[in-house]
Structure formats: structure tokens, C-alpha cells
């Protein structure tokens, strides 16, 4: 049986196709202004790439903030449940998930069966999210893809004390003006995110193994800073950005 998961995030829309527990394929596009159109397009493009039609797909589950805009979904689940299903699929041992998406971040704890026990979500603020990193990368004039690894070369991370994205940006601009080294500033930015995320994780409790999912999991600097801060290794989801869509497809198979 083939099932599909559609994850409409604030910045990107993701689709995944799963057949009997095996990932057939996945796709990521920008969400843009129209969440409904993005959901339809990413799904149709993925179907065409894999060479199946919508008739071959038994069930579709939509997730993410735009989940209710996906008219062709059989059911919707929140991204917290979808990421839990996706992480449990990738590694059934996982007990704690950090999901850092474009505009929100979540700490999720799972029981032995992969069921969500507890969760904490950031509160209407972009601090500690992908958007925060985008703003900082722009201020630093560094391509987002290089941004993560660049901080790994830092010997003396700069201190960013503001939690607010807007204030942190002006703090970063002051550091640039003072001539601080780029890797050190970027490393400081990653440490500030790690501090915020680890406080959230403390509230649900950190039980190993810990997995990071969501687009920001692709940023090696954030992962390293968070791992250092928590003092535990962090497993990066093999499909970080598509994890929610894969989880949704897994949930669809159980409908």
C-alpha cells in the first residue's frame, strides 16, 4: 500500500510517499503565499517523479501549519505527531525529539512505543527558529548552506545575549562593526539558539537517544552547539526537513 504525507511548513512544503514501510521518495518546495497551491504542487510533482498516480495512493495525511489547506488529505495531524512518527520510523529507540522549523521549534518526548508523552512549543516568537538563522545569515552576508559549518571553525564564540531576533540582529551588527571574526559571530548565534532550545528541552526532560528534525537539523553548527550544551550526542534525522512529511505518510498507513 502506498500512502502520502504532505507537510506544509511556514517556509517550505514537503511531500513524501511511503510503500509498506519503505520511503519511495520525497520532495521540498517553497510554500510561498498560497499554502493550498503549494501542497497540491509538491504532491503532484512528487507523484510524477516517482511515476505513480494519485489513484495508486491509498491515503493522504496532511500536517504542518498549513495542514487544513490541503483539501485532498484524508486526515490531518499536527506536525508534533507527524515528527514523532517520522523520528520513530527513522530510529525506534528515539525518546526525545528537537524539531526546529522555519517559524517554530518544539521539544517532544516519546514513550517506548513512539507515542508523544509531552511537548513544548516556542511561543509566538521567531527566536530559536529557522527564521532567526535566515535573518542572521543575511546580516552576516553568508549563504545559508555554508552558515552552519562555518561556525565549526570558531575558537572563541562571540556572546549574543538577546533572545529577540530583532535585538539579536542589531547585536550581531555591532559585533560586525567591532571586527569580530565571522565564524566566531556565527558560532555565538548558534550557541544562543542552543541555549534557548535546551531550556525548552529541560521542561520535557532529556532522555537519550535525542534526535533533531526539521530544516534547521541541516545546520551542523546548531547541532554541535546543542549537543555541547546538553552534554549528550544528538542524532540528526536522515530526512531532517522531510521528517514531518514521512511521519505523516506513516500515520496515513495506520488510518
Amino acid at each position: 500500500m502506498i500512502t502520502a504525507g504532505i507537510d506544509i511548513g511556514s517556509i517550505t512544503a514537503k511531500a513524501a510517499l511511503v510503500q509498506d514501510g519503505r520511503i519511495l521518495g520525497d520532495k521540498v518546495i517553497f510554500t510561498g503565499y498560497n499554502a493550498a497551491a503549494a501542497g497540491k504542487r509538491v504532491y503532484e510533482e512528487l507523484l510524477a517523479e516517482i511515476g505513480v498516480t494519485s489513484k495508486d495512493v491509498a491515503k493522504v495525511v496532511a500536517t504542518g501549519y498549513g495542514r487544513n489547506a490541503v483539501a485532498f488529505a484524508d486526515k490531518t495531524f499536527t506536525e508534533i505527531l507527524a515528527h514523532a512518527a517520522g523520528a520513530h520510523y527513522a530510529d525506534p529507540r528515539v525518546k526525545t525529539i528537537v524539531d526546529i522549523g522555519g517559524q517554530d521549534s518544539k521539544a517532544i518526548s516519546l514513550d517506548d512505543k513512539g507515542k508523544v508523552k509531552n511537548f513544548i512549543m516556542n511561543d509566538k516568537c521567531a527566536a530559536g527558529t529557522g527564521r532567526f538563522l535566515e535573518v542572521m545569515a543575511r546580516a552576516m552576508e553568508v549563504n545559508l548552506d555554508e552558515f552552519g559549518s562555518m561556525s565549526l571553525a570558531s575558537q572563541a564564540p562571540a556572546k549574543i545575549s538577546s533572545i529577540c531576533t530583532v535585538f539579536a540582529e542589531s547585536e550581531v551588527i555591532s559585533l560586525i562593526a567591532r571586527g569580530e571574526k565571522r565564524p566566531d559571530i556565527i558560532s555565538g548565534i548558534h550557541e544562543s539558539i542552543a541555549a534557548r532550545i535546551s531550556a525548552m528541552l529541560a521542561r520535557v526532560g532529556v532522555v537519550e537517544p535525542v534526535m533533531i528534525t526539521g530544516g534547521v537539523a541541516k545546520n551542523a553548527g546548531v547541532v554541535a552547539a546543542l549537543s555541547k550544551k546538553l552534554g549528550v550526542p544528538i542524532e540528526v534525522s536522515p530526512h531532517a526537513q522531510q521528517n514531518g512529511a514521512i511521519g505523516a505518510a506513516i500515520l496515513a498507513a495506520a488510518l
Binding site: 501549519y65 495531524f77 499536527t78 506536525e79 508534533i80 505527531l81 517554530d104 507515542k115 508523544v116 508523552k117 509531552n118 511537548f119 512549543m121 511561543d123 509566538k124
Partner: protein, 373 residues
């Protein structure tokens, strides 16, 4: 139902109703800011007591007086008053409960001197033997203040009448709470909230007759009401002026079966003893009513009460709805959550501003919570 329309409309905009009733009945309208106000006394003085609950999106006038990390409800009320939107009030009563209301009272006295103004300085610790005598003195003083400033004598007979009227309202509101507990979904959370809010604003006698009709209507509908499959929830927290969240809870698959809100059971649950003299009856009611976090009535009283509510309703969980920067509730939250955890009662914390909208993030949190409890 037409009657509910009026109640819903009153929750949206009380100002035009209050201006109209003031003109029609030639009655004075006295605002109050907290459910500890001795409303019976105001009513017995021939005035209409009205709870002030306003939501102002950008309270820039209040910002001149209040820090921006002050409670949004107090800031909104002050802003509305400074903007002249509460000019129809003949006075305001400030029961001393939280620090913010006490500061609001000072700011009001200095900046809005044109209206009648009274502080009701309640005891903080309600369980001590001295509290009752102190409260009797406070009520006696308030009675004198009202009489002097409104130019009306408050007779014992008028107070007894007011107590009886309030008790009748409270009995009916308690019946509504029983009905929603026994038949989840029979009364929507928004309707419930609007009825409780109207109880604090409308002409009380007119309200009682509408309420009695509503209760009778719901009693009749109850036996045929389909069993609800939604998750049964108890709401805990302060004055919730964001009706948006009720719709969001129901959309996420929840149904509210009880609460300990200031705009809920804390307001109406306790009745005054009609066999006592009026002042002791009022004092005893204030001492024994469900307690506010700004008052003390035992170290774990609020959590004990909340757990009892969950058990009694067979609820699946608790949602704490706290106003941002409400210190008394924020101080109580950790111990209450801990006690709920020990009882294996799941809970979710939602912090809101008084004009807060239920956005996508809140919906996601609510939906996930309903799924895991």
C-alpha cells in the same frame, strides 16, 4: 435562540447596553475590577454593578502609567477609561486582590478624579479568625462610603433582597455548570462564558429571568443530547477575555466540562447564607468562596479544588489559561501542575494577552494535546 443572541452581543459590546440602561432606569452604573467586589452592596444602593473587562489592542494611553509587562487586562481597562470609553460610569470599586489592581486603583484615583472611587481592602489571609471581623469592618466601611457618595441609604431589607437575587442567579449558573458536566457539549464554552460575563453586567433582575428561561431550555434539551466523544476538559486560571480560545478548544476536539476561572465558578459557585444578617452573610461568602491566587486559604487549596473538579467530571485533562504577566496565577502554576502530575492528570499551559487571538500555533498545541491525553 434570540435570548442567547442578546447575551452574546453583550459580551461583544457592553457599552451601548449600559449607556441605554443608565438612561432608561436613571440608575447609576458602578464598575468593579475583580470578582471579590461586594456587588450586593452596590445593587442595594440602587446602582448597577458592572465588571470591567475590556480588550484594547494597543493600550498606548495606559502605557504612560503602567509598565508594558503589566497584566494586559489592567492595562486595557485603564486605557479604555483614559480614552473616555467608560465615561458612563458613575464610579469604580477596587477590591484589593492582586498588586496590579492595587496599582490600578492608585493610578485611577490620581488620573480619573471625576468619578466616585472606593477601595475595598480585603484581608489576604482568609482563614485566620481575625479575617472575618476585619472583613465585617471593611464591608461596613464600604457601605458608609457608598451611602455617602451615592446619596442613598442602604437598608438591611434592600441588602437582603440583593442577596436573594444574587443567590438565585448563582443557583442557576451552578445548574448550568452541572448540566455541562453531565451532558458535555450541551452548552458551548463560548455561550457559557457569555452567560457568566452577562451576569456581571446586565440589569440583574432582567438577567435572572433570561437565565431561568435558558436553564429551562437546556434542561429540556439535555435528555436527548447526543453523547460527546470530545476530550473532557477543566479550564483553570484567571479572567478569560479571549472567547476565541473556546472555539479553538472545541475545534481541536475538546469540550469544557468545568472550570475554576474568575469568570466562571470562582464568581458564582458560593452562595450567601440567607438566614444570617446581611453583612455576616456577605463576609462568610467572601471567606468560603473558591479562592483567588491573590488570596490565601491554605497552601494547596486551589490544586485540591482543581483535582476534585477533574475527578468529579471524569475529565481527561486540564488547560491552564493564564493572562500574560499575571503574577499570582504564574506563582501558583508550578505547584498546581506538580500536583496534577502526581495524580496523572495531564495539563497544558496557554498564556494569552487579553486581546489575544487564537492563532495557528495555539491550534497546533491544542490539537496535539487532545490527541495525546
Amino acid at each position: 435562540m434570540q435570548k442567547t443572541d442578546l447575551i452574546n452581543a453583550l459580551a461583544e459590546d457592553p457599552h451601548s447596553y449600559l449607556k441605554e440602561i443608565k438612561q432608561k432606569n436613571a440608575a447609576k452604573v458602578i464598575g468593579f475590577v475583580c470578582s471579590y467586589a461586594p456587588e450586593e452592596m452596590i445593587l442595594a444602593a440602587g446602582a448597577l454593578p458592572v465588571r470591567l473587562l475590556t480588550a484594547t489592542e494597543n493600550p498606548h494611553r495606559a502605557d504612560l502609567h503602567f509598565q508594558s509587562y503589566g497584566c494586559s487586562l489592567a492595562r486595557s481597562i485603564l486605557d479604555a477609561a483614559l480614552a473616555g470609553r467608560l465615561d458612563y460610569l458613575d464610579g469604580v470599586v477596587f477590591p484589593h486582590t492582586c498588586d496590579t489592581i492595587q496599582r490600578l486603583s492608585d493610578i485611577w484615583r490620581i488620573n480619573l478624579p471625576q468619578t466616585f472611587f472606593a477601595d475595598v481592602v480585603l484581608p489576604v489571609k482568609l482563614t485566620s479568625p481575625a479575617a472575618r471581623q476585619y472583613l465585617l469592618d471593611v464591608l461596613q466601611k464600604f457601605r458608609g462610603d457608598l451611602e455617602a457618595k451615592l446619596g442613598a441609604a442602604i437598608s438591611d431589607a434592600a441588602l437582603q433582597d440583593a442577596i436573594r437575587l444574587y443567590n438565585a442567579i448563582r443557583r442557576n449558573l451552578n445548574r448550568i455548570n452541572e448540566l455541562r458536566r453531565a451532558h458535555p457539549g450541551l452548552i458551548s464554552a463560548k455561550d457559557y462564558s457569555d452567560w457568566v460575563t452577562a451576569a456581571m453586567r446586565m440589569d440583574r433582575a432582567a438577567y435572572l429571568s433570561l437565565l431561568e428561561a435558558f436553564v429551562a431550555d437546556r434542561e429540556q434539551a439535555a435528555p436527548g443530547h447526543p453523547a460527546s466523544r470530545a476530550k473532557k476538559l477543566v479550564l483553570a486560571g484567571g479572567g478569560c477575555t479571549t472567547p476565541d480560545i473556546y472555539g479553538a478548544i472545541e475545534e481541536a476536539g475538546g469540550v469544557v466540562v468545568d472550570d475554576d476561572l474568575c469568570m466562571g465558578t470562582r464568581y458564582y459557585e458560593a452562595l450567601a447564607d440567607e438566614s444570617l444578617a446581611p453583612l455576616p452573610a456577605l463576609a462568610d461568602r467572601l471567606i468560603t468562596r473558591p479562592v483567588c491566587p491573590a488570596k490565601h486559604a491554605g497552601l494547596t487549596r486551589r490544586a485540591d479544588d482543581l483535582i476534585a473538579r477533574v475527578r468529579r467530571a471524569g475529565a481527561d485533562g486540564v488547560i491552564f489559561i493564564l493572562l500574560k504577566f499575571c503574577d499570582p496565577h504564574a506563582f501558583d502554576y508550578p505547584y498546581m501542575k506538580e500536583m496534577l502530575d502526581r495524580e496523572n492528570i495531564p495539563s497544558l499551559l496557554v498564556e494569552m494577552e487579553s486581546d489575544g487571538q487564537a492563532g495557528g500555533q495555539l491550534q497546533t498545541r491544542l490539537e496535539t494535546y487532545m490527541e495525546i491525553i
